[in-house]
Subunit: 246 residues, 2 copies
DNA sequence: GCTTTCACTTGATCTCAGTCAAGGTTTCGT
DNA sequence: ACGAAACCTTGACTGAGATCAAGTGAAAGC
């Protein structure tokens, strides 16, 4: 079972140790965090928390992917966040969840009870400072995404999403730059549609089109090869040097 | 001249004293801030800073409205933030601006040189804490807006924008709830289009339609009366109780 | 092994918002 | 007072993506 593999793991061996909210913590602070942390596992498709529910914990994604989703009364949904390993869930000082949080893949989270975490945050500037950094990064990502949602065509939206996923995988496995990039899509067509503000039919059609033109290669439905990252980036409509800014 | 009216104003008399990044500061901290602050004024339409430029200050909007805008190579633009009085501009720890910042109306900003402000932030948890709060609020607003951009119809987008502006004005002039709401639009049709991911023609048509149906009343191009806020909120497609959550 | 279900693809058609074009108002400079 | 420049409105047409519908393929349950 997933859970058993991780429970009681020492923070110093944690795969997200240097990127999560605890990144700047020293040994003492880490010890305090260890005292209030616990792991939770979710299967792909499970809901971590429903919008409006009481939220008595905050936490970090350790492995897998979670999504934040908003739903309108008539059922239209929009994904408003894609949480990757080390990303933070929840907001100190708020009681109820503003969005549905769902496990998009199998998911492991490192959770802290909210009250003690808030206390700890007040006492340890390292945590508050890191959380501010991470929140500012997320705000930038959200604004980047607003351009995608508001102004890009369906084709550009798909290319943008594939670029983001490809870039993330590349940064996790830091590799030589040239050569094809290979990864598995962690999202269903429907989840992609919810993220991109499209229908799943349009997502499917645009992926087929990119495949037909050789910009991507598909093996099965989810296994993607990008022979030339630059061509994909061109389709995304970003500044041509976008990939090298980071 | 606008500038002269405000220069050397004491922070304790500042109109945004209790809502800006300095909200939680005590008298001592405020004094330190006063030492590094200066005011800058901009006319409507002026650019405060260009994307990519060196940014050697951060600051708060004191009066007027500023906008954050992203532009694609081919000229498509998307507004990604609307900064109202008390909102914060800039990011401690970053050198260059990621977006164009423009004065949408005449604008006064309270600026701090970046380096001293960063120093001050490290020393005074009150400022860092308030900045975290404000950033989390902005992240929520950005995610709210992602739903608007991704899933709402043109009509719902217009109604959403009008609701937001109306609600802001209502909270600045806290008034009895019932009765019509009156305000001036601080944005041109084009700026609305950039914010909503529409063309200015569509904005104009939808505003005309809402007017024809009596959901809004217009005097001139910018002066708006909302006879029944609930009807407008219905058109925005939000949860029916949305307006009372705050 | 067979059915059911889930995830996806593809086609035909429709519709909402974009595009192109013309004209109206208001404001501003001279 | 006049002309120019913003800013806005309206109309006719177009097209990208939504909708409706049918079908494929692979995995899961019995």
């Amino acid at each position: 079972m997933l859970k058993a593999q991780i429970d009681h793991t020492n923070c110093s061996e944690c795969p997200i140790r240097h990127r999560a909210v605890c990144a700047h913590c020293d040994a003492n602070e880490l010890e305090e965090l260890e005292g209030i942390k616990y792991y939770r596992s979710f299967e792909a498709g499970q809901t971590v928390i429903w919008s409006g529910d009481q939220m008595n914990f905050v936490g970090s994604v350790v492995s897998g992917i979670a999504s934040l989703t908003q739903t309108m009364e008539d059922g239209r949904t929009q994904m408003v966040g894609l949480l990757l390993p080390s990303d933070f869930v929840g907001r100190p000082g708020r009681d109820s969840a503003p969005y549905d949080v769902q496990a998009t893949t199998d998911l492991v989270m490192c959770c802290f009870r909210k009250k003690p975490f808030e206390q700890l945050m007040n006492d340890t500037p390292h945590i508050a400072h890191r959380l501010l950094q991470m929140t500012l990064d997320e705000l930038d990502a959200a604004r980047e995404w607003m351009l995608v949602l508001g102004r890009k065509t369906a084709r550009e939206k798909i290319a943008s999403l594939l670029s983001i996923i490809a870039r993330r995988d590349a940064s996790i496995v830091p590799k030589a730059k040239p050569g094809p990039i290979v990864f598995d899509l962690p999202l269903t067509r429907e989840a992609m549609a919810d993220y991109l503000g499209l229908t799943l039919e349009t997502v499917s059609r645009q992926i087929s089109a990119l495949k037909k033109e050789g910009i991507i290669e598909l093996e099965g439905k989810r296994h993607v090869t990008i022979p030339d990252m630059r061509r994909l980036m061109d389709e995304a409509g970003d500044d041509s040097d976008g990939g090298f800014l980071i």
